[in-house]
């Protein structure tokens, strides 16, 4: 090859071509989405997360949770994610998701933690899996200082909360636990429980363990993963917790631990602020809100008009 000009030009052209094709055009298509609102302009989804949950996302990223846990549910044409129920929980067990994930679900996520590996279960809807009483208790309790409530507060709107509003979503949700009632106090439809409120507000199971996927459950699971699932290979995150001698009265937010967790009498384990943020983030993960682009025939996950090549249609459209 003679002459440097064609070589340099070609090198630049290949880079530019791939950047335009794989980044610029997709960004034009799905990079400028807005939260979805209903006909009256209420019930925006998604809503920005609370300050604690946002900090929790950083903790999640910094400690590498994303290398084992995905946060995306694939459509039923591609995988069996939608049929899969969680291992634990009251019967019927909560599903991984009631619909597939769409770009709009991640509007306010930074970083986006979609994940590429499943050594642990998918977490896209882990907050949604929390028991109903839990949500009512957390949603109804006053938000403690230090965790600001979501920004677009259309408080007082008759938002139907987490209950699916349209028939299409309702069919997709069939077989799932009944949608939580009493979440209307939360403007986004996804309750924003915090670590504190949840620990105290939960109803324990009959065997004394915290209810599955409640905040108290998450704290104990992070502190001692194998106390729930013997085969789990999740590392314990004890460095996020403080183990201390009980001085006077047991702290209100101390973990509900069992004898197998290696904590002696007279000691208690309390979550650090980071741990409470992390759990607040987990509790905020909820993609159950119905999306317009996913309910109709052959809609692409993006609000692309018919011009683009549509994604394979969801099953109910066939």
């Amino acid at each position: 090859m003679k002459g440097i000009a064609p070589l340099l030009l070609g090198i630049f052209a290949t880079f530019a071509f791939s950047w335009v094709g794989l980044i610029l055009i997709p960004n034009y298509q799905i990079g400028h989405l807005e939260p979805q609102v209903d006909e009256e302009g209420n019930d925006p989804y998604p809503a920005p997360k609370s300050g604690m949950a946002n900090r929790g996302r950083q903790i999640y990223a910094a400690n590498g949770c994303v290398y084992c846990h995905s946060q995306q549910v694939r459509g039923d044409y591609a995988a069996s994610d939608l049929e899969r129920a969680r291992d634990q929980g009251p019967s019927p067990k909560p599903k991984w998701g009631e619909r597939r994930s769409a770009p709009r679900d991640y509007l306010f996520e930074r970083p986006v933690l979609l994940g590429k590996m499943r050594l642990g279960p998918d977490l896209a809807n882990i907050g949604k899996s929390a028991p109903v009483e839990q949500e009512a208790a957390a949603g109804g309790s006053p938000v403690p200082s230090g965790s600001p409530s979501p920004a677009p507060a259309s408080a007082g709107s008759p938002a139907p909360g987490g209950s699916p509003a349209n028939p299409a979503a309702a069919t997709a949700a069939s077989g799932s636990p009944s949608p939580p009632a009493g979440t209307a106090a939360s403007p986004s439809g996804s309750p924003v429980p915090t670590g504190n409120a949840a620990v105290t507000g939960a109803q324990p199971q009959s065997n004394g363990l915290p209810p599955q996927y409640s905040a108290a459950w998450h704290h104990r699971h992070l502190y001692s993963p194998r106390s729930f699932v013997l085969e789990s290979n999740m590392p314990a995150y004890r460095f996020l917790y403080e183990k201390r001698r009980i001085g006077g009265e047991r702290a209100a937010d101390a973990l509900q631990l069992g004898p197998a967790d290696g904590v002696q009498e007279g000691w208690e384990v309390v979550p650090s602020y980071d741990a409470r943020c992390l759990v607040a983030y987990l509790m905020s993960l909820d993609q159950s809100h119905a999306l317009q682009e996913l309910k109709a025939t052959g809609a692409a996950p993006a609000p692309a008009k018919a011009g683009g090549s549509p994604a394979p249609a969801p099953k109910e459209a066939k």
Binding site: I11, F17, L22, I23, A62, E83, P103, E109, S309
Partner: protein, 495 residues
Amino acid sequence: MNPANLPLRKPPTESDVTIRDVEQVERALIDASTRLPVLFFYASAIVWLLLGTLLAGLTSFKLHAPDLLSNISFLTWGRVRPAHMNVMVYGWASMAGIGTAIWLMARLCRTTLRHPLLLICGAAFWNLGVLLGVGGILAGESTGYEWLEFPPYATVVLFVAYSLVVSWAILMFRFRRGDHIYITQWYLLGAFLWFPWVYGATQIMLFAVPLQGVMQEAVTWWYSNNLLFLWFGAIGLGTAYYMIPKVIGRPVYSYHLAAIGFWTYAFFASWTGMQRLVDGPFPAWMVTASIAATIFSIIPVATVGLNHHMTMRRYFGLLRYSPTLRFTVFGAISYTVFSLVGVLISLRSVARYLHFTQASIAYSHLGLYAFFTMVMFGSMYYIVPRLVGREWRYATLIKVHFWTSTYGIGLMTLMLFAAGLAEGGALDNASMTFVDSLNYVPMYLRGRSLSGLLLTISHFVFAFHFGLMLLGLGRTASVPTFLNPKEEEAIEAQL
């Protein structure tokens, strides 16, 4: 010191002896001028390799012994794993690649290395950048974007380091002698220019002017695939295009085939990446475009593979003697395997089972280790003796290095693919509980830890041998160290 003498070559005829002597002196001068910067890059790379190996071992063992060291925040699995990846990608692979690229550039531009201080500063800043970045990850400041976990302050330092290196490369190219641009130089020039564009564009789109929502994930995958193909892939292929013909002493089989291979490679490889987002929350056409590009990348793989094969034809017997050739050819073959596996796992019907499993780890290791790292080892076995004026001390150590690496990476790939298949099939069966679907995985992960032990032996043996060379304890001899005693007649028969 007789640096460029290739004893496996045909003996020169009387008439060209003087020309060859002049060429040899010229090469010796060029080699001497590259000594400090290249050795600095190599030595740093090998130190990072050892650190990365230890981190890898910890990562692997923690997967089946989750309580191991888990109470120390900076040694929790989720921090050690990205630390391992980034040490290997930016510490070992990039620094080894730059070292080799510098030497090849100087040789092929046929000019002594100017401004070595620029490069030494570049290497020092690069080390600082990686150190800051890994420290940041372990301290819990990871950004959360895969392969881009370094916190922004480390990225800035890396970028300064990189600008020093690339400005040197352009100066070098500017002062080259002769009009002809050799195949290796296409790839190296491409790598030197693609990397800063891709890296810079990605940093801007993630941190300076962050894109919205899932587009960040698209940028991350676009980056990591372009890094794999246009940075590591280009340096690795360029090196193989130099080493294979050089060691066996024949020209590349077809120049035109090489040109087709280069341009189709640049064109198709740069469009891959989105296949790793299969069925995620993205427009389906993005994923499909990348799957198509992956399939089309069979064209460059076939042309490059054919070219190497035809160059090597009737010379495969030399693999018995030359360490460089053995490592490089292993890497070149792995490149074909890596690409074909890449095509296979990108197909939607296969991705249904292998997506979200260990198979993607196997795929990255095929690319970064079986292909790139092995080619880099090969080039080091060729280049280091020419820099220090000594030959490798022990043929046995080279053999141990080669076989532990080969068996190590082979075992690792097999174990991870087996784990991926077992896990993928079970994950698709929704009636199984999640914990049950992972039942068989720890068994394979233990096998993977075993392969890690082999690789650890391999790397420490190599580092020891390299240390001997640095200390000037190599052999003083006029012939390179062969893996097996040279049987004169056999080689004559080959030629």
